[in-house]
């Protein structure tokens, strides 16, 4: 708790260099009335999370529309950090997000940012309650572009395009890419809803990446001879297709 007496550590994420430099100027102006320190800058969400892994901050000023990973997705992954910063969103204009911010009383600043508003937001920041995952998810209609997992005190980002399939375990979901597997604390049903366009359920416990489906085969391995399996590009193993999900095969045959 004694860190409250120290300078407020601030990280900035914005894809536009002039926008970052504007925030730096404003923060310098703020610095005359209270102690703060800029610990780093990032040009997108992924870079910000990488930065925060080794340089903790108290506040992240987070632009919404950024390449690679937008601000709202970054805020979701940042919750898994050991020492997660509070988030203040910044945006020039985003009709959808602004509406959602008002609805959930999320703190945000519109660009161009006024010194006064930035000052107020920063002085409130220590009393902010962290945003819940549900609220963060309701701020955007877009599915995430990465999944994040905690491993040995770090947050690892797995680009959704690299995921071959997702398998439900007892309490976890296993993410499988061509390189390795990760454990994720989310439900397969939620993931199925979010990634409807990219993944398809072939079995009670399997979601496979639509883009990686190579072929469907019948009775290739042991078991009953009429069982279907699916072959994914980049994966030796065949995954089972349950009887209930066989309609998926027809869906692919049509394409």
């Amino acid at each position: 708790m004694n860190r409250h007496a120290q300078a407020l550590r601030i990280a900035i994420a914005d894809d536009e260099a002039p926008a970052r430099s504007r925030i730096r100027d404003l923060l310098e102006d703020c610095a005359t009335s209270f102690a703060l320190e800029i610990v780093g800058e990032a040009a997108n969400g992924c870079a910000l999370i990488e930065l925060l892994q080794h340089t903790p901050a108290d506040v992240a000023l987070l632009d919404i529309r950024m390449p690679e990973m937008d601000g709202i997705e970054a805020a979701q992954h940042m919750r898994k950090l050991e020492d997660a910063p509070s988030v203040i969103f910044t945006t020039a204009y985003d009709a959808y997000a602004l509406k959602a911010f008002e609805l959930h009383a999320v703190d945000y600043l519109v660009k161009p940012i006024r010194l006064r508003r930035l000052h107020d937001a920063l002085s409130r920041v220590r009393s902010l309650t962290p945003l819940s995952l549900e609220v963060l998810q309701s701020l955007t209609p877009e599915p995430r572009r990465h999944l994040s997992v905690q491993e040995r005190g770090r947050v690892l980002l797995v680009p959704i395009d690299q995921v071959l399939f997702l398998r439900a375990e007892l309490k976890y979901v296993t993410i499988c890419t061509a390189e390795r597997e990760y454990l994720l604390e989310e439900s397969l049903t939620r993931l199925e809803q979010e990634f409807r366009d990219k993944f398809v359920r072939v079995h009670r416990s399997y979601l496979v990446s639509r883009g990686h489906v190579e072929s469907f085969e019948r009775g290739a391995e042991g078991g009953s001879e009429s069982a279907w399996t699916v072959k994914l590009r980049g994966l030796e193993e065949r995954l089972p297709v349950s009887r209930r999900q066989q309609h998926v095969i027809k869906e692919f045959a049509r394409i």
Partner: protein
């Protein structure tokens, strides 16, 4: 010709030089011949031969009329509406008589009062066509068209406005000169956006405007945005509806450049082939990009404005090739009438 409705609120003959008008005339005449053939033929099998038989005397009149009317179009349209109609009918009768005189053998020798009946057909057909254009003109009446054009006027994204203002603010302390230029570019851009954009502009002005817009985006996006212009073969004085190129480039930046971290190239190619102006715009394309509803709306908007100005003579096509998104616009080459 400044805009399709330059003549304000009075009735006016169609512009017979316009490809869309010519196409409509041809289709109506063909349809009339078809109906006539259907009525006269004794059986289904006889319809086609009858149609061809009818076409023999009709086609030469059609071709000659179109030539005559498109040649006289400017003069006819400058007359009173009723005088124009009378003249058009007279021209048609004259053309019909000439064709009848030189092509009597097509009409079969035995028929009596063949010419009178021929004339009657011509008068009816001409009347129907002019009436159709009269109704169409009403439907696209100036007030209505203007309202539509106004509603269709390209709007700049608020996203761009506020981000640009923010970028200019960031320059004021360190590079005041650049900030000044940027604000001047912005003023020019908004002057055009807020102007009455129902009249045609020139290619030179449209390209200049787009360059000013891009210099603002370059300020914001830095090395992420690079632009290749190919305007060596562009006729600067050619007429184009204002805000056709700029919104397309804005789309290209929003969907093609901003969602990427790596630098991307937008290429803009403007050239003239025969009597047509081509505008070709290319930008990087990402398969899983954010949905393109906004983009489709902008394209539909521009397409409709092109149609209101040039009818069927203009076209807009968009295509996706490998890694690039391309928009190709063709408009007829028109110059300021002086």
């Amino acid at each position: 010709m400044k805009s399709i409705n330059q003549n304000g609120h009075r009735d006016v003959l169609p512009d017979f030089r316009n490809l869309g008008v010519i196409l409509r005339v041809v289709l109506i005449v063909l349809a009339l011949s078809g109906v006539l053939a259907l009525a006269q033929a004794g059986s289904w099998q006889a319809v086609l031969p009858r149609f061809l038989e009818l076409s023999a005397p009709v086609q030469p009149v059609l071709v000659l009329s179109i030539l005559a009317l498109s040649g006289l179009s400017g003069w006819l349209r400058s007359l009173e509406y009723w005088a124009g109609i009378v003249l058009v009918v007279l021209i048609e009768l004259l053309v019909a008589s000439v064709v009848y005189r030189f092509g009597e053998q097509f009409f079969g020798g035995d028929a009596t009062s063949q010419l009178e009946r021929y004339w009657l057909f011509i008068v009816v057909a001409t009347g129907l066509i002019l009436y159709y254009f009269h109704l169409r003109n009403r439907a696209l009446s100036p007030a209505l068209t203007e309202a539509r054009l106004q509603a269709l006027q390209a709007r700049i994204r608020p996203h761009f406005l506020f981000n640009s203002l923010n970028a200019v603010l960031s320059l004021i302390r360190v590079e005041p000169k650049r900030a000044e230029t940027a604000l001047e570019d912005m003023a020019d851009l908004f002057r055009v956006l807020m102007a009455d954009n129902r009249n045609l502009s020139t290619l030179a002005r449209e390209v200049e405007l787009t360059r000013q817009y891009l210099s603002l985006e370059e300020l914001r996006l830095g090395p992420r945005l690079s632009v290749e212009w190919h305007t060596e073969n562009m006729p600067a004085e050619a007429l184009i509806p204002p805000l056709v190129l700029q919104p397309l480039v804005e789309n290209a930046v929003y969907h093609g450049i901003e969602p990427r971290s790596q630098p991307g190239v937008i290429s803009i190619n403007v050239y003239k082939v025969r009597e047509e102006i081509h505008l070709v715009l290319r930008n990087p394309y990402r398969q899983d990009g954010d949905h393109h509803a906004g983009n489709k709306m902008a394209l539909a908007n521009i397409r409709e404005r092109l149609a209101l100005h040039f009818d069927a003579e203009a076209s807009l096509k968009s295509s996706i090739t490998e890694e690039a998104y391309q928009v190709h616009i063709v408009i007829p080459y028109r110059k300021e009438a002086r």
